[in-house]
Symmetry: C2
Subunit: 208 residues, 2 copies
Amino acid sequence: MARPPKTDAKDTHRLILDAALDLFSQGGYAGASMRQLARAVGVRESALYHHFESKEAILRALLDELGPGQSRQLDAIDVPAVVKQLKGGKAFLKLIGRTLVELWATPKEQKIARLMMGEGPRLAALGVIDPRQEISLARSRMQRVLGELIRLEKSPVDAADATTAFMGPLIMLRALHLVMASGPPDLGAFRRDVDRHVDFFWRAMSKT
Amino acid sequence: MARPPKTDAKDTHRLILDAALDLFSQGGYAGASMRQLARAVGVRESALYHHFESKEAILRALLDELGPGQSRQLDAIDVPAVVKQLKGGKAFLKLIGRTLVELWATPKEQKIARLMMGEGPRLAALGVIDPRQEISLARSRMQRVLGELIRLEKSPVDAADATTAFMGPLIMLRALHLVMASGPPDLGAFRRDVDRHVDFFWRAMSKT
DNA sequence: ATTATCTATAGATCTATAGATAATGC
DNA sequence: ATTATCTATAGATCTATAGATAATGC
């Protein structure tokens, strides 16, 4: 035993973080033990401490890696170009809705969402990721996109209000279909709800 | 020592449940210990077991007591009467929004929301309260109210879609201002955001 | 020499129980 | 007799460390 030969080598560091995301998102940070984690990885507890200083260090590394979230991708959107290409602001919003659904539905994002929701207020104390700040960042990025859309459409609505009205239902539907769901998520129902939400939202947006 | 004289008697059962809501909402169920709980109540651990069979029994009793939530109050609303009294559907929705803010802002409701959000998917397994079912109940109650309003206003929108559009931002704002907040909540900002949300929502509702 | 594992264990903490003790209510 | 507490403790589990061992890379 002791150190395994190269052929059996696995990236234990990686495996620890993956298993930690699994366990922490299921049972919560306090609810998961180093023992369970070692078991899931397939090593002894002491081997975990070779890779990380402590249980908290594993959570920190995990959150650090999950990083600033995917809302960054919104910055890359050239709103006028895409709206023109899709021939309309409504189609543009539908695309955004659908894109978010696919992104959120990945197993990893589901686990991240559960962890963030579950540990929520406690995470800020760690100083790695502040969920409030994450939300506020995602919000202002979406507001930039909607602001440009509003300008293009010559809509009279306020960008901040539109952001609340657009994001709120999306987040609620995400929680309903992905975070709270027990079995495998019903993506068809999720997509349908998101589409209907965009239709409704567009009524308020487009009204002169 | 042993049993305290009547004059010092406190309702330990009550104190345990109150302290449990405190601790569970702060550190999560797994993160809170019977030792902390006993300490908070001011008795020995063994005294806790006189009142409850186990740690889980305390959580069960707590959830049982929190019961079906406050969404039940929506059933009592006579929509046509209140709309008539307030002279308009928009004022009616503003009142609903404001009422929810005051209700959600109570310390107890804040703790309940944190607990529900934090333990979220794990609670269903206990079989006392299923958060998904709670949400779905609250949803259909709100849908009844909005459906009646839609009929009164002769709005062409679908009641289910309107419910998503109305509740989504409210829940998001609640999470932002009350659940995630660290210090004391800024109720003024919360109310302002809710008012603006109702204004925006009304655009979509009232458009013919 | 360094890296990654193991065995073994320390020491803290946790849930829960046994049995003693004193107040209460009949 | 019943109820509500206490002291004391069992036994499980948890985080973390010490020290041995074997593979790797120089």
